[in-house]
Structure formats: structure tokens, C-alpha cells
Symmetry: C3
């Protein structure tokens, strides 16, 4: 894949989840009004290429990826609730925000989608989103709700990777 | 594929067509306000896994699939007309409602899309949708228009499967 | 692939880019109100099949494809600016209008996406779109801005094909 293709895949993987979430809620995608969105992606691509990071994904990248999933899920649930989505729909939109980009990335790269076959990405995000919508109606301030839910996502994914947990597969 | 992946594919296959139709018509997806949508999908996945239905698709499943195509097409055409789409666009949105989910399912599962290579799914839905927009301007009540169009879809698909009809392929 | 599949791929390749652009700008897809859109696609498919054009892509088709990219990019940028998108977003929406259809076509046909691996489709469109948003604020009439930007796209792609230019690939 050439450098243009890499940049395009990076953009698609970054903005797909939030873009779908906003379309479903009848809002304009956030990147339409926020140029820093693309500057951040461009910077990340330049750093990755500049450092010639082509080794297999290591602990740092995996940690950043988990953090990204947590942020995407939590902000997705929050945005959905702020836009009059019922709790169950906010849960689904939160998970969608986090996983849709990686799914489309894998499809465009013609590799087996990680989301469907390995790891517990979807499970971790779903559990965190569930915690969010369950504790959101309490008196807890929004920041605390977000921190707890995000921590749950990071915990579930980190533990499941460390212990090699997977959802059962069809026999 | 693990159980989470199966649930995700079931959701994607079920809601993609109607979701796209609504986005194109500038309406919120129906599942955003209707939780029973997901309960029905979850139930269907649990039944399928519980009964360990992993045999090749049989007559009952094929019949249910054809019924689903008919319902999706007819309700898609109806919804489009109700939302100020012209007849030709309602025809296309009806077919889209019925076939988009299966197409995305096949892409995510990395198999050859059934829609593009085999069977007469698209043709059956297109013929039924055409019948709908042709007889809808008559004095016939909506229910009868829907029943006739749905019956046409079921007939075309059932006969074409029974007789092994296919659209001609490029030589 | 049967004739129905070919028609469907032709439709998807033609309308995806503009449809996404409109959804992101909260506008209805243009084909919802313009039936000639589908008539043109149908005519193109009939001509292609009628003439049994199954030879490898030749100079005429490549020229038409480049012209199509230029028209899609320029009209995409213009439409985005007309709908209150900032310049950087109009640039991205212009490129998206031009390349999304071909990308989805390749995914549905299960072939390696041309956009990501070969040629300079994306680069040519991005350069042309950049020229558009740079010279649009000047006193030049819109038609001239569109012609210059379109010519840039055609030039960049034609030269890069003639000279075998490619973006560098990751080693």
C-alpha cells in the first residue's frame, strides 16, 4: 500500500465510527467543523512513517488503542444521550462509535476483521457502555460516570488480553 | 467467528437496509426509538445457537428469508412514498431496504456476495417494488397493494429457486 | 457476475460518492429527485454490454474515467462550499465524492482497491480540490475556477499514468 492509501485508511479508521453515530442522530459529522481532527490524524501518520514503525503491534500501541476505544465509547454514549437517544440506543451508538472504524479498515485492507474473530474489543466496549447508561441516571457528575465507564473498558480489555480470554466460538 | 461476531453480523444484516433508507430520506433510523428491534434479533440469534442450527440452509429458513425480503421491500417502498419520494426512487429504496443488509453481511464475512453472483434476490424485490409503485396510484387500499406486491416477490423468488432460474451471466 | 449484479455495481459505483457527500452535509441524495441519474447509468450499462466491451480498459475508457473524476471532484467541492462547509472540509468532500464509489465497487467485487494500491487517483483529485479552494476566494468567476481545477486533475492523472508515477510505497 502506498503512502496515500495509508493516510486514507488512517482517516477512515478514525472518523467512521463518530460519523455514523452523528448521521444516525441527524447531526453533521464533527470533522466538518473541526480541522484539528485531520491535523491530528496527519500528525499520527507522519510519526508512524517517520519512526518506521512497522514492527508487530507492541504494548504501547495496544495500550493507546485500548485508551482510544474507551474514549470513543464513552464520548459516543454521552453524545447519543445528549441528542435524545434512549439508553439502549446510546449503548449501541457508543459501541458503534468505537468499533466501526476498525471494521471498515479491515474490510478495505482485505484482512479478516479483528472485531469478528479475535479479542474482546466489542465485549469490552459493550460492558463499558452498559455501565455508563446504568450509572448515568444517578447523582454522580458526568465526569465521574465517564471515568468509571472508561476504566471498565480498559480493565476488561487488558485483563482479557493478558489472560487470553475470548468469547466462545461456534463449534 | 465467535458468538459476539455472530450477534454483530445478525444486527448488521437486519438493520442496514432500513437504516440506509431512512438516512437517504433524512429520517432517524427506526431502531433508535424501537428497542424491540434488537430484542427480536437477540432472540433469533439465541434460538439459532440454542438449536445448534449449523446445517446448510433448508426449506424453512429459505421460506422465512423470502418472506423477510418481501416484507422489507414492501415496507421500504411504502415508507419512501410516505416520505415524499417519487415512485422510481421508492422502487430503488424498497430494493435497497431488502438487499443492503445481506450484501454488507457477505462483505464482512469475506464471502462472495450472494446478491451479485447467484439467485434472483434483487430481481424478485425489484419486480415486487415495481408492481407496488404501478398499482399504488389506483383506488386499491394500501393493505391490498402491499399484499399483492409481497406475493409477487415470494412467487418470483420461489419459482426461480425451484426451476434454477438465474439472470444470464457475462460470458 | 450476472447482469443484475453488473447493474447494481454500476449504480453503487456511480452514486456512492455524491450520496455520502450529501448525507454528511445533511442534504438528500440528488438521485432521490433526479430520475435521469439512473437512466444515464442504465444506458451506460446497456452500451457496455451491447458492445461486449470486456477487453482490458483502454485509452478512451481511461480518459472518460479521468474526466469523470474531475467532474465529481469539482462539483463535490462546489456543492460542499455552497452548503456552508469550510474550505478544508470541502476539499475532503470533493475527493470523497470522486473516490468513494470506486472504493466500494472494488470491495463488493472482492478485488484489491485500486485507490489504495495503484495509480494516483486520490492524489490527482486532492491536488485539484486544493487548487479549487485556494483560487475560489479570488475574483475569478466560478466557471473558470471549476475549469482550472478540473484541468489540474486531468493533467496530474494523465501525466502520472503516462510516466508511471506512483506515490512511494512502504518498504
Amino acid at each position: 500500500m502506498d503512502y496515500g492509501g495509508i493516510l486514507l485508511i488512517a482517516i477512515v479508521a478514525s472518523i467512521t465510527g463518530g460519523t455514523l453515530r452523528n448521521l444516525f442522530l441527524e447531526e453533521r459529522p464533527i470533522w466538518l467543523a473541526q480541522p484539528w481532527y485531520f491535523l491530528a490524524i496527519l500528525l499520527a501518520v507522519l510519526i508512524t512513517i517517520g519512526l518506521r514503525i512497522t514492527k508487530p503491534v507492541g504494548k504501547v500501541v495496544l495500550g493507546l488503542d485500548t485508551l482510544g476505544l474507551a474514549v470513543a465509547t464513552v464520548s459516543g454514549v454521552q453524545f447519543a444521550l445528549d441528542n435524545a437517544a434512549p439508553s439502549y440506543a446510546a449503548l449501541i451508538l457508543g459501541v458503534l462509535s468505537a468499533v466501526a472504524g476498525g471494521l471498515l479498515r479491515d474490510v478495505l485492507c482485505q484482512v479478516e476483521p479483528v472485531l469478528l474473530h479475535r479479542e474482546t474489543i466489542g465485549t469490552a466496549c459493550a460492558v463499558g457502555a452498559l455501565v455508563y447508561v446504568l450509572i448515568e441516571p444517578t447523582a454522580l457528575p458526568n465526569e465521574i460516570v465517564a471515568l468509571i465507564s472508561g476504566a471498565v473498558i480498559i480493565l476488561v480489555r487488558t485483563i482479557s488480553i493478558a489472560r487470553g480470554w475470548n468469547l466462545p466460538k461456534v463449534k
